[in-house]
């Protein structure tokens, strides 16, 4: 049984483009090798490998319960993997704490948008800024000038991002007053406020109206042109097709396939995994 799975995995690698075929000039920003995680008896993630080239928009798809969100949790170390390693920007990060990983430049969003509803939209944004002088209470008392100056700059930057997702008019309202779609937007905007290298988006288009989806896609493309790398979980195939350079497919906690969106669409195994549901 185990052997069968192994050969299957090998076959998969031979079929999909192996990692070596990537042009050597494009380094991998994120590489995960053989990640495993079981919850009790369920193998939610089983020897999954994935890599995200620098500057790409990489997709991650799969049927419900395939283990995509769990994989995000493993990558960002919100859940400790049982086995496997994660290398970000050339450094192993699986021993780091979640906040350290974010500080290294890899932020994740949550499948169900989690905004801080008792803070204002602007405060949600400002929270995400890194290395603020005022994050140290000593500096708040003894370096007030610097603190206030930085705060003003961050506020400007936050307004720019909010402007681009169309939330700037809500900046002073409590985030709890936002609609579901607006919360998704705020979460993406907040992730950008970290000034990351890589953003992990968990279903950014879920529950967002179609016109807004188009807007989000355009923004993601724009941010990508500005040098940001994305790894996106998404069920909406139109979004995947229009955004992604490469798509990884997971099913039942394992790697199923990888390729360009068109290749994936024609891959019989992928079709079977989806239709088999």
């Amino acid at each position: 049984m185990v052997d069968e799975q192994r050969t299957e995995a090998k076959g998969l690698k031979a079929e999909a483009e192996p990692f070596g075929e990537q042009p050597a000039s494009i380094p991998q920003l994120l590489v995960a090798r053989e990640l495993c995680k079981s919850f009790g008896g369920i193998r939610a993630v089983d020897r999954v490998s994935i890599d995200v080239p620098q500057g790409s928009i990489t997709g991650l798809i799969g049927p419900n319960g395939a283990g995509k969100t769990t994989l995000f949790n493993l990558l960002s170390n919100f859940i400790q993997p049982d086995r496997g390693e994660v290398i970000f920007n050339g450094q192993p990060i699986h021993h780091l704490q979640p906040h350290q990983i974010a500080q290294q430049g890899m932020v994740r969003t949550f499948q169900v948008a989690r905004v801080l509803s008792r803070l204002s939209v602007m405060e949600n944004m400002l929270l995400a800024a890194q290395n603020q002088t005022g994050e140290n209470f000593w500096n708040v008392w003894f370096r007030p000038g610097q603190t206030i100056k930085e705060e003003r700059q961050q506020r400007e930057y936050a307004s720019e991002i909010l402007e681009s997702v169309g939330l700037v008019h809500m900046a002073q309202s409590y985030a709890g007053a936002l609609s579901g779609g607006q919360r998704k937007l705020l979460e993406i905007a907040r992730a950008l406020m970290v000034r990351p290298k890589l953003v992990l988006l968990d279903e950014p288009a879920a529950g967002v109206n179609p016109t807004l989806i188009n807007q989000i896609c355009e923004h993601i493309l724009q941010w990508n042109r500005d040098g940001l790398t994305f790894l996106i979980i998404e069920h909406n195939m139109d979004v995947v097709m229009s955004l992604c350079d490469r798509v990884w497919v997971m099913a039942e906690g394992q790697n199923l396939a990888v390729g360009t969106p068109t290749e994936i669409q024609q891959n019989p195994q992928v079709l079977e995994a989806y239709l088999g549901q």
Binding site: F78, P98, H99, L116, R118, L119, L127
Partner: protein
């Protein structure tokens, strides 16, 4: 009278400081600390013991604060990675443990006999008149700053209300509050007369008082429901009137305090303590207000709401929770030193869990996550305490020991009503409600 007022101011200040510590931990960070008194007792004992060894008072207090912080560190390291409930349980345990250690380790703490005759701040200080005037100026300066802040807050609150309807609604609100106060006074005076003359049997008097209270509350709730809302901007008017009354009350009390400073040599220990305590409240309040409006405070508020999101945005949640717990501990330790100086004797029974309960009452009453609310809560708490201690005795047909229990029961009742009517506390923001999440 002056002596009472000075002592009232001191107690209010001590518990304002104590409450500010809890408000930082629970109100802003969401850490449930049911053993806040432990920080206070460590602060009190350390300060007193150090100063008995001849260490200068300022350094003794800092020492006490450091010991309290160290306990925060220990508790934090052992529990803050766990779920929040564990912190609640551990803090209860630790506070009782510390009290029991204080009872039993008599070589250090003199056990239940307690420690007396330790140095008090400014107690042997006998300033010349110009220096007293200087102290008064400083004291008044702190008060003035407080009033200025208050005025700015009030102005912000009523900015959008048209002048004319504000005046109108203020008059209505004044009539409402004033008539209510007169009625309460009338009921109280009648009851007092009846009790003194023994015109009624205690049961009859008690029943009468009870009925009168219920009838009074019913009448004024009914008025508030039916008459007040017909007036435009009634809530702004009510705010103005209440604030005005509070401000005048504050000035009335400040007058006594300032006279006390002027007559410093009459009771140097208490006056000196009052002076120090009020300055400390001002300083700590200011420092905390700075903090909670800073990026640091924003991280605490984020943790209060969702630790995972805060982590995902690159903040070391554990470290910030630890800082909050320790800083709150430092503040409570300082309150402990003040408490020891006020009581002039330190023994374990001063640090019953009831003291923690009082701090929670103050913070909940004033509004979690509002430093000004904590100050107000402390003032209300001690006003209530004084009034019921000295006034109820003449009115209610209960003997003293039962009266004590009765007063605490009424606090519980007030808290229940407050939670139903205004769960966020007097000055808390509804949108930032930390209870019942």
């Amino acid at each position: 009278m002056q002596g009472y007022v000075v002592s009232l101011v001191i107690f209010t200040a001590i518990f304002a400081v104590f409450g500010l510590g809890l408000n930082l931990q629970w109100g802003f960070t969401g850490l449930i600390n049911f053993g806040h008194v432990a920080f206070m007792s460590l602060g009190a004992y350390t300060t007193v013991l150090l100063s008995l060894q001849g260490v200068p008072l300022v350094i003794s207090v800092l020492g006490g604060a450091m010991v309290a912080a160290a306990m925060g560190l220990l508790i934090g390291i052992s529990t803050l990675r766990l779920r929040t409930d564990y912190l609640a349980i551990v803090t209860i345990g630790v506070s009782e443990m510390i009290r029991l250690i204080a009872v039993n380790e008599a070589w250090l703490t003199r056990g239940t006999f307690g420690i007396q005759r330790f140095p008090l701040p400014l107690a042997t200080f006998n300033p010349a008149i110009p220096i007293r005037v200087g102290m008064i100026v400083l004291f008044a300066g702190v008060l003035g700053l407080g009033y200025w802040q208050w005025w700015r807050w009030l102005k912000q609150h009523i900015r959008q209300v048209p002048r004319k309807s504000l005046v109108k609604s203020s008059i209505v609100a004044f009539a409402y509050v004033g008539s209510g106060a007169l009625l309460v006074y009338g009921i109280g005076a009648t009851a007092r007369h009846l009790k003194q003359t023994n015109a009624l049997p205690p049961l009859g008097l008690g029943f009468g008082l009870f009925t009168a209270t219920i009838a009074f509350i019913a009448l004024y709730v009914w008025l508030a429901r039916t008459v007040l809302p017909k007036v435009a901007e009634w809530s702004a008017g009510l705010t103005v009137v209440c604030n005005l009354i509070l401000a005048l009350l504050g000035l009335w009390i400040a007058r006594f305090a300032i006279t006390a400073i002027y007559q410093y040599d009459r009771n140097p220990a208490k006056t000196g303590l009052m002076f120090v305590a009020v300055l400390l409240v001002g300083l700590i309040y200011w420092a905390l207000e700075k903090l909670v409006r800073s990026p640091w405070g924003r991280i605490l508020k984020a943790i209060r709401e969702d630790e995972d999101v805060t982590k995902a945005l690159g903040k070391n949640v554990f470290w910030y929770k630890l800082q909050s717990l320790m800083l709150g501990g430092v503040i409570a330790g300082i309150a402990g030193a003040l408490y020891a100086w006020q009581l002039t004797t330190v023994f374990p029974d001063n640090f019953q869990p009831l003291v923690t309960f009082n701090a929670w009452t103050i913070v909940v009453l004033g509004g979690a996550g509002s430093n000004a609310g904590t100050l107000l809560g402390s003032a209300i708490f001690w006003a209530y305490d004084t009034i019921t201690r000295f006034v109820l005795r003449d009115i209610v047909p209960l003997e003293d020991s039962r009266l004590g229990a009765f007063r605490i029961m009424v606090i519980g009742l007030i808290l229940i009503v407050l939670m139903m009517w205004r769960p966020q506390g007097i000055l808390g923001k509804k949108e930032e409600l930390t209870l019942g999440r």
